[in-house]
Amino acid sequence: MGSYPAGLRYTREHEWAQVEGTRARIGITDYAQDQLGDVVFVELPKVGTRVRQLQTFGVVESVKAVSDLYAPLSGEVVEVNQTLAERPEQINQDPYGAGWLIVIALGDEAELGNLMGAAEYEAYLQSAGGH
């Protein structure tokens, strides 16, 4: 149904992480953007902020809903997607590409073991997660 790229890792709260060497790019999944509806606002942490796995690091708002963002991995924010301030709809249009939220310097690679792969995430959506 939705799109869940194979190379990414996923959380139960519908965020994805893409490891890029010692860094990880983070966003929300196709399922999450579809559930939210049209995104109109994103609140993201500043560069230098430390985020912790499965703790909230920001907020994404659609016309109708306010939703917390949970960090898939721990680390320090090194990049923030500034284009989302003017064009938050990129999160709906391209959740794995132009809609990326933050990039972190990875704190602990072992944390990847706590995340799901694409097939597992898809199975999760079919069962409990897709509500």
Partner: protein, 372 residues
């Protein structure tokens, strides 16, 4: 099927199956299972302002009143001047309590010298029916026809052309807030040039059993116009941009018409009506608070219930707020202490514990384009 809070099943309009067929995202609203969106709130909102959109508003309630004293009874029940309402005319009005609190906002149709129809909010049908029947008096016949009446709103610059092609008469000449009987395809309808979007458009009152036929005909016939079915999500952003009140958010039984900026539908000179004395007092003394429109200065979304602050003190609260797609700003409505109600006043909205700057602005946020 969706469930309402107390686990009674949600009510369905005659168009429920059609919405589900189209893959609409459904939600419970005022006890009804309604479409929030079909393709997306922003896309639907823009389609209404640029072309034409069709809304299922069949969940709303309709009451019919008949009899030689119907006009008099309605005059005593509502705030606007029924004596000034001509046959074939519609007026926006309010039902108020003795203390001036608003029971509901409504539109009142004069269908004949002694025949009226009142359209009320879906969530208030039972409350309003109990209210009007308790206050009517013996000589007026009243019927709650909500369950047998479907209602479709067709709104946007291309609404006139679309409704015109399906109606058996020339609707182009129908004036704003006027109504007529017409046939849509072969379906008898009451058509009014009214709406909740700020665009030109019509509301079509139809027999419930024929509503789906007309809905499908509008969406098929309007394809070339770019018609979209539009859900409650866009209905809310469209009305917000016009600063139209939403009952339960901006107005309720604790708000009076003067503070809500609805003094223009209160005609004190017309004579006695429920709530008159209390409303007159507020008008004379000035309201203690005012419903204003504001826009965010800092980048943040104001939402219903958020506190409004000034100089670290709470001075009000947000009643409605969101992103306005046609104005491309974060906007809202809320009550503030009357002294802070002037356009240009700087206020703050507390969003997730932090004060975000905002400013009281002139409304409507978007220019109305209703029929002149």
């Amino acid at each position: 099927m969706g469930q309402s809070d107390d686990a009674t099943p949600l009510k369905r309009t005659p168009l429920h199956a059609a919405h589900v067929r189209r893959g609409a995202r459904m939600t419970g609203f005022g006890g009804w299972d309604m479409p929030v969106q079909y393709t997306g709130i922003v896309e639907e909102h823009r389609a209404v302002r640029a072309a034409v959109g069709c809304f299922d508003v069949s969940h709303m309630g309709e009451f019919e009143f008949r009899g030689p004293d119907a006009a008099g009874a309605l005059q005593r029940l509502t705030t606007n001047d029924v004596a000034a309402l001509e046959v074939g005319q519609v007026q926006y009005s309010l039902l108020c309590q003795e203390d001036g609190g608003i029971v509901d906002d409504l539109t009142l149709y004069r269908l004949g010298d002694d025949r009226f129809m009142m359209t009320v909010n879906a969530a208030n049908i039972d409350k309003d029916w109990a209210w009007v029947t308790a206050h009517l008096g013996g000589r007026t016949e009243a019927r709650n026809v909500s369950a047998e009446t479907g209602l479709i709103a067709v709104q946007g610059p291309r609404a006139e052309a679309l409704v015109g092609r399906l109606a058996d008469r020339d609707v182009t000449r129908m004036g704003y807030y006027r109504c007529e009987r017409a046939t849509m395809g072969e379906v008898p309808a009451i058509v009014s040039r009214t709406g909740y979007t700020g665009e030109d458009g019509f509301e079509l009152y139809l027999p419930a059993a024929d509503t789906e036929r007309v809905w499908e005909a509008l969406l098929a016939e309007g394809k070339a116009d770019g018609v979209l079915p539009v859900g409650l999500g866009a209905r809310d952003t469209l009305r917000l941009e016009m600063r139209y009140a939403l009952y339960g958010h901006d107005i309720d039984q604790t708000t009076n018409p003067i503070e809500a900026g609805l003094g223009w539908v209160v005609k004190l000179a017309k004579g006695e009506f429920l709530g008159r004395a209390a409303i007159e007092r507020v008008r004379a003394e000035g309201p203690r608070r005012r419903l204003v429109g504001f826009e965010m200065v800092d980048r943040a979304v104001a939402r219903h219930g958020y506190r409004i602050l000034r100089d670290d003190a709470e001075v009000g609260h947000v009643t409605s707020g969101s992103y306005g797609p046609s104005v491309d700003r974060y906007i809202g409505m809320g009550y503030v202490a009357a002294a802070l109600g002037a356009v240009g006043t700087e206020i703050e909205v507390e969003v997730r514990g932090r004060a975000q700057r905002a400013r009281v602005v002139k409304t409507p946020f978007h220019p109305p384009r209703v029929k002149k």
